[in-house]
Point group: C2
Chain length 148, copies 2
């Protein structure tokens, strides 16, 4: 594979992920959550299972804990998360999604699924499955947030 092909692949990768993020953001907005940005969505994916501390969120989002705290503040003001005491650590506060937060998460998931479904219509389920498997082999699980 030539270098030019490698370059093409990297450009395509960026283009596809940008389009995807925009599609998800648009879907979330259309669902009525107009005060959410992509960064919030990345936070939600971390909060969804069992909640998280601000520091855990910061690590996951690839930002300082101050920035994460600010983001959590905003989500709290808008009713997407609660902040309670942490069961195992008196220093920490456990941030968890509210029902509204979970609804927004579902809206984002739906938008992502719709985007992926549209892709599948274009390339078919077999190539879609291969694509997913190949990406899984590449994507080192690091920071989730691409700093949009």
């Amino acid at each position: 594979m030539a270098d030019t092909d490698h370059l093409a692949l990297t450009a395509l990768l960026l283009s596809a992920s940008t389009a995807l993020t925009e599609a998800i953001d648009a879907g979330v907005h259309e669902a009525g959550f107009t005060d959410l940005r992509p960064a919030h969505g990345f936070a939600f994916t971390r909060l969804a299972p069992h909640g998280a501390t601000t520091a855990q969120l910061a690590a996951h989002l690839g930002m300082t804990k101050q920035a994460a705290a600010q983001l959590v503040d905003e989500l709290h003001r808008n009713g997407y998360v609660t902040r309670g005491p942490h069961p195992d650590d008196a220093r920490a506060r456990l941030v968890e999604l509210t029902a509204k937060g979970r609804a927004a998460t579902r809206a984002a998931d739906d938008a992502a699924a719709r985007a992926a479904a549209a892709w599948q219509e274009r390339i078919g389920p077999d190539r879609m499955a291969r694509l997913r498997a190949d990406l899984a082999a590449l994507a080192a699980p690091g920071h989730l947030r691409p700093a949009w």
Copy 2:
């Protein structure tokens, strides 16, 4: 393909593209161009062939022309581009890469090629080619810059 698989694909796509951008940025820095950010690299890819006007650059990067002008200013101060008169339009100024700008572009290309080569070692050339073809089918050519 289930929704959860679609979600996995989208997460993987974002993860892979983030890792790639960071790898390119790191490579450019290691090559000595410490005053460049990813957004500059995206600008270079548009400038490389024949130069461009500030407005064209703005459209390509998905930002206002004022922001693009500011970016060009910075590149000019640091010796990466020249700004000359436009041959066909007295309003416009043609922004072109200097030798230093072309060298930085090569450094970015090299880093991208190295990252892709590392991936190819993991999944092999065949899957790599398929991956590229599948991504080409998905990526609508829109804005290049993911607003990092």
